[in-house]
Symmetry: C2
Subunit: 215 residues, 2 copies
DNA sequence: GTCTATAAGAGGATAGAC
DNA sequence: GTCTATCCTCTTATAGAC
């Protein structure tokens, strides 16, 4: 396994093996707890218990509860926006949007906590990521809106406001993660079954894609 | 102003004039605070300050913070589901859905707190209204799904799963209330301007209605 | 690095005067 | 009905031993 020594020459503090492992364990546990309880509802104790550590030990790795929260958010943001950033102006519009919507639904199924984490943050006024939303996300959405607008100009999509199309896609796909409790309550055991998300994908794709196909 | 005496003969405790006024003031303030902060994040103190009362005085009218929360939720539920319950099987399907979607968007614009209150509750596992969701809401959705299924059978709508159509409508319309902070951050000052919700309505209606029109 | 013990503070709820 | 004062619990964060 070669040398496990970390080179101390780098800029920030180099993390030892155990530090990396523990930090990751904490962030994983924190994602789940913050997602289901929100920032205020979450307790350091619950995060600690979930990753088998003591409360003070968590605060050895992170200087405060808010610090943990912030880093979980930042870590998840990148992953969450990946498929959006990957929208390709040169691909076929309908196929590209099908790919994007499908990817978002898969994420809602596989990692609902990530979606819930953001929903909580934004619902409460986005105190931590407000700056990010106004700069990076705004710029990214502006860029992709331009792509969609071009598709419409080229007659490849029905005339539609790009921003509202993006919001519609976000809303529908994330709904399946954020409101899963309601969906489960309303349709019962079907929601847990294997084919459920495929069925959801088919319906959502049918509605949105037919709604924007050029006529 | 005639007599203001309350008749003590009724079943539950009759509320005096001042009691009614204060209860309503508390519930109005509580809606705003719970909507923006969630149950855990909200404090009795903030609710009290917002309606110009003292903390103990609130607890004279309601026996606990949870009691206030529960009553705000129940009070708002009825209003929130009104337009859904009003979907008319005998009306023209596309027009009826247009009416419903428009009504939901108007509610998101005029009373975003109501939407946020539910979003918070459901996001955190619906501890208080879970029973309601599994019984009344489930029954209501089942009924309306039947209406939509019939419309599809009659060839008045394109073939679509009724449940996913309902979820799509809920998701898109409530998104404008629940995620308003993100929308504002992304598109800037336009979001506050007068015509914005009309523009949103046009886009959402265009996507969903074109997506389900019979072909 | 990890623990026990504890300080410090926030917030829900009650007692009791007025 | 409304207030001030207070109790008590929960939770964040730190001190300091190991």
């Amino acid at each position: 396994m070669a040398s496990t020594k970390t080179r101390p020459a780098k800029q920030a503090k180099p993390l030892s093996r155990i530090q990396e492992v523990n930090r990751k364990a904490i962030l994983d546990a924190a994602l789940e707890v913050f997602a289901t309880s929100g920032f205020r509802g979450a307790t350091i104790d619950e995060i600690a218990t979930r990753c088998g550590m003591s409360k003070p030990n968590l605060l050895y790795y992170f200087k405060s509860k808010r610090d943990i929260y912030q880093q979980v958010l930042e870590q998840t943001l990148e992953e969450w926006l990946g498929p959006f950033a990957a929208i390709d102006p040169n691909a076929d519009p309908v196929e590209e949007l099908r790919r994007y919507i499908t990817a978002k639904l898969v994420m809602s199924e596989k990692r609902p906590e990530a979606s819930k984490l953001f929903a909580n943050e934004i619902l409460h006024g986005a105190p931590v990521i407000h700056g990010f939303l106004e700069t990076h996300l705004r710029q990214l959405v502006h860029e992709k809106a331009g792509v969609i607008r071009q598709w419409v100009s080229d007659g490849k999509l029905a005339p539609i406001d790009p921003y509202h199309l993006i919001f519609t896609i976000w809303a529908t796909t994330q709904h399946y993660a954020d409101f899963d409790v309601q969906i489960r309550a309303v349709i019962g055991s079907q929601a847990g079954k294997p084919g459920f998300y495929e069925q959801a994908a088919q319906a959502v794709l049918s509605i949105i894609l037919n709604g924007i196909r050029p006529r």
